[in-house]
C-alpha cells in the first residue's frame, strides 16, 4: 500500500474530522464503526469524507481487526468514536476488547494460539518479552515506520523497538511528572506554585507550619500494589542522577543498591516517608501502603492535604470525590509540573504510554496500524478529550481539557529530559514484581532501605 497521497490527505483532513464528529454526535453507543451516517449527504460528499482515508484502501464487508487493550469503558467508546470514520470508509470493523487482566491474559492468549490482531501494550518490558518469545509480534510495516519517523520523537520509537527491530508504534502518552493541588486552597492560604525544588521544599515546610500535612499518597492498587511508589523513585532518580544513569539503571548496569539509587531512596524517604509531610488526610506514613491510589488525592479537596504527586490520568478521579469538580488553574484542582532538582538536567519528565503491537500481517491490520500511528488519528482521539499523545501531528489547540493540553506541552517539549517509566521498561520480575513488593514493604512495614534494594537486585533475572 502506498502512502504517497498522504500529503494531499492531510490537507483534506479537516473536512474528514468534521464529518467524523457529526458521526460521533449521532452517538452509536455500541461502537464498532461502519454504521451509516444519518446526515443527508450525497454520494459525492461521502466520498469527500472518505477521501482522507483512500490511502488505506477499502476492504470487503465483514473484514475485522481485533484489538485487545487494558483500557476500559468509557475510554473504549472514545477510541471507537475516534476511528469510526476510518472504519466506515475502509470497511474494516474494529472489534475492541478491554480487560483489567490484560497483562496476564495477553501472553496466555498469544501462547495459546489466539493472539489478537493488535494489542495496546503499556509496558515496553512486556513488548520485549513477547518479541523474544515464540509467536513474536510482527515487525512494524514501512508505512507505520514512516508515520512514526514523521510524527514521533526518536526516543518513543526506541521504546517500541526490541533488539534493533521496530515493532510497535506509540499511541497515547501519560505525563507522570505532575503534582496535583487545589488552586482555591492555595489562593486562600497565599501559597504560590513552586517552580524549583527549593521552592517546593519551602512550600512543604510552610504547610507543615500551617498545620497541614503537605503531601498525600496511596500505592494500593490490587494486584499492582506498589506501582505509584516506583514512579516516585523514578522522578527522584531522573532529577538527581540524570538520563544516562536512569538508562543504566533500567538495564541494571547501575544496580538498585548502588550509591546513586540509594541516595535517591534517601531523598524519597525525606519526602514521601517524612512523618511531618505525609500522609495528609489519611494518617501516618504507613497508610501510604494501604491507601488506594485512586483515593489518595481526596483530602486535597478538603484542604487536609496539600499536594499529590500523580500522573495526568489522575484527572479522571476528581469527579468521583466531588461531582463536577473543576480542573483548571482557577478551579477546585489542578496540576503543576514537579520541578527539577539539578540545573544541568533540564526539565526532567517521566512519562508512560501504550504501544501498538500487531500479531498479524494481514493488510487490514497493517492499514489500521498505519492509521493509529498517524497524526490524523491522534488528533481525532485527542478531540474526544482526556487523552494525550506525544504525536507531533496533533495541534495543541485540538486539546479540549486543560490537563491534557498541559501534559502535551511538556511531552512535546524539545529540550526536556524525557524518560519512560523505568518499571515498565524493566523485566517483569522486577518492574511488575519485586520492586512493587519491596517498596510496598518499605512504606507499609518500615523495611530498611538496604534490605529493600538488595532484595530487588536479587530478583533481577539472570539472563
Amino acid at each position: 500500500m502506498s502512502l504517497k497521497t498522504r500529503g494531499r490527505s492531510s490537507v483534506l483532513i479537516a473536512g474528514g474530522v468534521a464529518a467524523a464528529f457529526a458521526l460521533a454526535a449521532c452517538g452509536s453507543s455500541s461502537g464498532g464503526g461502519g454504521t451509516a451516517s444519518t446526515s443527508p449527504s450525497t454520494s459525492a460528499s461521502v466520498s469527500a469524507e472518505c477521501q482522507p482515508y483512500a490511502a488505506y484502501g477499502t476492504f470487503a464487508a465483514g473484514t475485522t481487526v481485533s484489538v485487545f487493550t487494558s483500557i476500559l469503558p468509557p475510554e473504549q467508546q472514545k477510541f471507537e468514536a475516534s476511528w469510526a470514520q476510518f472504519a466506515k470508509c475502509t470497511g474494516i470493523t474494529v472489534k475492541y476488547e478491554g480487560s483489567d487482566q490484560f497483562e496476564a491474559q495477553l501472553p496466555t492468549r498469544i501462547a495459546g494460539g489466539n493472539a489478537p490482531d493488535i494489542a495496546f501494550i503499556p509496558q515496553p518490558g512486556l513488548l520485549a518479552k513477547l518479541a523474544q518469545g515464540q509467536n513474536p509480534p510482527v515487525a512494524a510495516p514501512a508505512t507505520v515506520t514512516a508515520n512514526v519517523d514523521k510524527y514521533w520523537n526518536p526516543a518513543w520509537k526506541n521504546y517500541g523497538s526490541v533488539d534493533g527491530t521496530f515493532y510497535a508504534a506509540p499511541l497515547g502518552s501519560n505525563m507522570k511528572s505532575f503534582v496535583w493541588y487545589s488552586p482555591s486552597v492555595f489562593k486562600a492560604k497565599g501559597y504560590t506554585v513552586p517552580t524549583t525544588w527549593e521552592e517546593l521544599t519551602a512550600l512543604s515546610a510552610k504547610m507543615v507550619k500551617d498545620g497541614v500535612k503537605p503531601w498525600c499518597g496511596g500505592i494500593e492498587s490490587g494486584g499492582a500494589t506498589g506501582w505509584p511508589a516506583t514512579d516516585w523513585l523514578e522522578q527522584i532518580v531522573l532529577r538527581t542522577q540524570g538520563g544516562d544513569v536512569y538508562d543504566q539503571w533500567v538495564n541494571h548496569t547501575v544496580k538498585f543498591n548502588s550509591p546513586q539509587i540509594k541516595s535517591s531512596m534517601d531523598l524519597l524517604a525525606a519526602w514521601m516517608k517524612n512523618p511531618l509531610f505525609v500522609n495528609g488526610g489519611h494518617g501516618d506514613v504507613k497508610t501510604i501502603a494501604t491507601t488506594a491510589f485512586q483515593d489518595a488525592g481526596k483530602p486535597i479537596l478538603d484542604g487536609k492535604c496539600g499536594m499529590l504527586q500523580q500522573a495526568s490520568f489522575y484527572a479522571a478521579q476528581w469527579d468521583t470525590f466531588k461531582k463536577g469538580a473543576k480542573i483548571a488553574e482557577d478551579g477546585d484542582v489542578y496540576a503543576f509540573y514537579l520541578p527539577g532538582i539539578k540545573a544541568d538536567i533540564p526539565t526532567p519528565i517521566v512519562g508512560g504510554g501504550e504501544f501498538v503491537a500487531a500479531f498479524s500481517d494481514k493488510p487490514e491490520v497493517q492499514a489500521f496500524q498505519t492509521y493509529l500511528a498517524s497524526g490524523e488519528f491522534a488528533t481525532e482521539k485527542v478531540k474526544q478529550g482526556g487523552w494525550v499523545s506525544a504525536n507531533s501531528g496533533v495541534p495543541l489547540d485540538a486539546y479540549t481539557d486543560n490537563i491534557s493540553k498541559l501534559s502535551a506541552q511538556y511531552l512535546t517539549k524539545s529540550d526536556a529530559t524525557f524518560r519512560f517509566d523505568a518499571s515498565d521498561l524493566m523485566p517483569a520480575a522486577v518492574g511488575a514484581g519485586e520492586e512493587w513488593k519491596q517498596l510496598t514493604a518499605w512504606f507499609g512495614e518500615g523495611k530498611p532501605t538496604d534490605e529493600v534494594l538488595n532484595a530487588i537486585d536479587a530478583a533481577w533475572p539472570a539472563s
Binding site: 453507543s29 487494558s70 475510554e75 495459546g112 483515593d295 481526596k298 461531582k323
Partner: protein, 315 residues
Amino acid sequence: MSATTISDEKVAAPESVSSAVHRNLSSPWASFAVIVITILWTIPTLGLFVTSLRPSDKANQNGWWNAFIDHTFTASNYSEVLTGGAVIPQGIANFFINSLVITIPAVLIPLAIATMAAYALAWIPFRGATFLFVTCFALQVVPLQMALLPLLQLFNKGWKVNGVSIIPPIGGHGTYYQLWIAHAMFALPLAIFLIHNFMSQIPKDLMEAAVMDGAGHFRIFRTIVLPLAVPAIASFAIFQFLWVWNDLLVALTFAGGNDQVAPMTVYLSNIKGTYGSALHLVTAGAFVSILMPLIVFFALQRFFVRGLLAGSVKG
C-alpha cells in the same frame, strides 16, 4: 419395588428427627445464637447493598451506615448498571444473558458426565477402579491457572507430536463452546468425588437384586441409581452454578471480554474503569449478579433435605 421404599424412608426420616430434636433440645439460647451469627454474617453484605444505593460522592466520602443518617438514597446506580450511563455506556443485560448461556450447559454437561463416571467407579467393579477414583480426586488440586494455557493451546492448535497432528484444533475461540468444555473439565474432579461418595452408599442388596432380575448396567443406572441420586446431583448443581456464575478467569481466557460472549463478571471488573474505582457502580453490579444464584439456591433448596452426601451416613 424396593427402590421406592428406600427413598420413602429417607424422606420420612428428617421430619421425625427434627421434631424429636425439637422436643428434647429446644433452647432459647440456641435461637439467640443463630440470630446473632446470622446478623454478623449479613452485615457485610448489607454494607454492599446500602453502598449500592448511595450517590457516588457520598459513597466515596464516608461509611455506608451514614446513609441511615443523611437519608440520601438513589436508584441511579442501578439504572446506570442496567441500562448504561455516563461512566459505562453499556448496560448489564447482554452480559446477564451471556452468563446464563455460559452457565446452564457448564452445569448440565459435567453433571451428566460425572454422574456416569461416579456410577462406573462405584458399581462396575474393575481392576484399577480405586486408582482411577483416587487420581480423579487428587486432580482437584491442579490449580486451574496452570491448566489454562495448555488447554488453550489444545483448543486452538491441537496436539502435535513431532509435527504429526494427534488431535486437531477444535477452534471456536470467542464462542461459548471452548468455555463449556473447559468448565466441564474443571468441574469433574469434585463432581465425581461427591457424587461417587453418595452413590457408593446405595445399599448393595438393592443393586444385587437388580442384577438378579437381569438388569444391565445401563438399565440399573437409568432406573435405580439416577432417581436415587437426584438430590446429590441437584445439590452439586447449585455449587457448580455458583462457581461458573462467579468465574472470571476461565471466561476471559476462553471466551474473551467481547460483549457477545463475556459473562457478568467481566462486566463487573470493567465498570470500575481504567483508572477509577466506581464503588457505587461496582456494588450495584455485584448485587445484580447475586440475584440469579440466590434464585437457584431457593429453587433447589428443597433437595438439601436429602441433599448432597446425605447418603454418606451409615445406616
